[in-house]
């Protein structure tokens, strides 16, 4: 009896990879999301304190934003790699 049960259980193999990959991407997007929010919060604060510094602050903001965003983008690439296997 147990052999039949095991044989039946083995036939319906569910591919969990896309679901797990999606969960992994979602978790991996938390950190960069917070980081990007912090960067732009700093820009807004700095501009509020000193409006004439806005140009320089925006320049720094874009460069640091892209450095943080790349982590979320790497997560997205890893999602596609993981969901294929």
């Amino acid at each position: 009896m147990s052999n039949i049960v095991l044989a039946q259980a083995a036939e319906t193999a569910v591919n969990l990879n896309p679901g797990l990959a999606a969960i992994g991407y979602g978790l991996g997007a938390i950190g960069p999301g917070i980081g990007v929010g912090l960067i732009w919060a700093a820009v807004i604060n700095g501009t509020a304190r000193q409006p004439e510094a806005q140009g320089k602050l925006m320049g720094i903001a874009w460069t640091t934003f892209v450095l943080t965003e790349v982590l979320a983008l790497i997560g997205l690439v890893v999602y596609f790699i993981a969901s294929a296997a």
Binding site: W62, T63, V66, E69, V70, L73, I74, L76, V77, F80, A84
Partner: protein
């Protein structure tokens, strides 16, 4: 999604990585290959035509070319490399900026509609074969072999025992991770952006033609979002081009920097 499926019996296959494999047009030449060569022709023609018959009071073409050149020279190269030795690198930085910009913008221009850097080979080639050799070569030339390795992996001013952790990390960062992340950054941004546009456009078409009657008006919402995301995508494409050039210039500047 289940209701959409039951309405007509058609299933919606969302666009995925397979949609980026474009078939060859003739003799194994694919669309991204043509777009890369086309971008080269566009940039060369733009700068060559704009710099013929330079006048003191510039006309429109000369003004546009001067604006781009000034941005790459002062805004990117001089700021990142320093005013002492940025001049030899201005052509490289300008070329990187304009090349990445034009190829990214191909993603939203109607007939082309494919950002060539959504294939990882293109940014990898730029980053591994152009940027990586340049900044290590100038670093080795300026500081000598051992001197540059010390300069790159041992930043001054950290407390002693930290160097056990810091030096391998800095080495990994400068020699392995920097070129890879430089390429993956622009690749993933273009890939994700193009995928978003594909999803909204293809979903609108599916909703209009293959879904039940009650879902057909939603296709307008989907296409409206496709238009909005096109504007967002344009911004991201310009920013990714700017950041590619800025980071390349930053790596060169860090390799050339004198010890404090």
């Amino acid at each position: 999604m289940g209701a959409l499926v039951l309405a007509e019996g058609d299933t919606f296959t969302p666009p995925g990585a397979g949609d980026f494999e474009l078939p060859p047009i003739f003799l194994g030449v694919t669309k991204p290959m043509i777009l890369i060569v086309l971008s080269l022709i566009i940039i060369a023609a733009f700068f060559l035509l704009a710099s013929r018959k330079l006048k003191v009071v510039p006309g429109k073409g000369q003004f546009a070319a001067e604006y781009v050149y000034d941005f790459a020279r002062n805004g990117i190269a001089r700021e990142q490399i320093g005013s002492k030795d940025f001049k030899p690198f201005v052509p490289l930085v300008l070329a990187l900026f304009s090349f990445v910009l034009v190829n990214n913008l191909f993603g939203i221009i109607p007939i082309f509609q494919f950002p060539t850097f959504a294939h990882i080979g293109f940014p990898l080639a730029l980053s591994l074969f152009v940027v990586y050799p340049v900044y290590h070569y100038v670093g080795f030339k300026r500081h000598g072999f051992v001197g540059y390795l010390k300069h790159a992996t041992v930043p001054p001013g950290a407390p002693g025992p930290i160097y056990i952790l810091l030096t391998p990390i800095e080495f990994l960062q400068k020699f392995v991770l920097n070129p890879l992340t430089l390429a993956v950054r622009v690749f993933a941004a273009m890939f994700a952006g193009h995928l978003i546009l594909l999803v909204f456009t293809v979903a609108g078409e599916f909703l209009l033609l293959h879904a039940g009657g009650v879902f057909k008006p939603i296709s307008v919402v989907s296409w409206l979002f496709a238009i909005l995301m096109t504007f967002v995508e344009a911004l991201i494409q310009v920013i990714q081009a700017y950041v590619f050039a800025v980071l390349s210039a930053n790596y060169i500047g860090a390799a050339l920097a004198e010890d404090h």
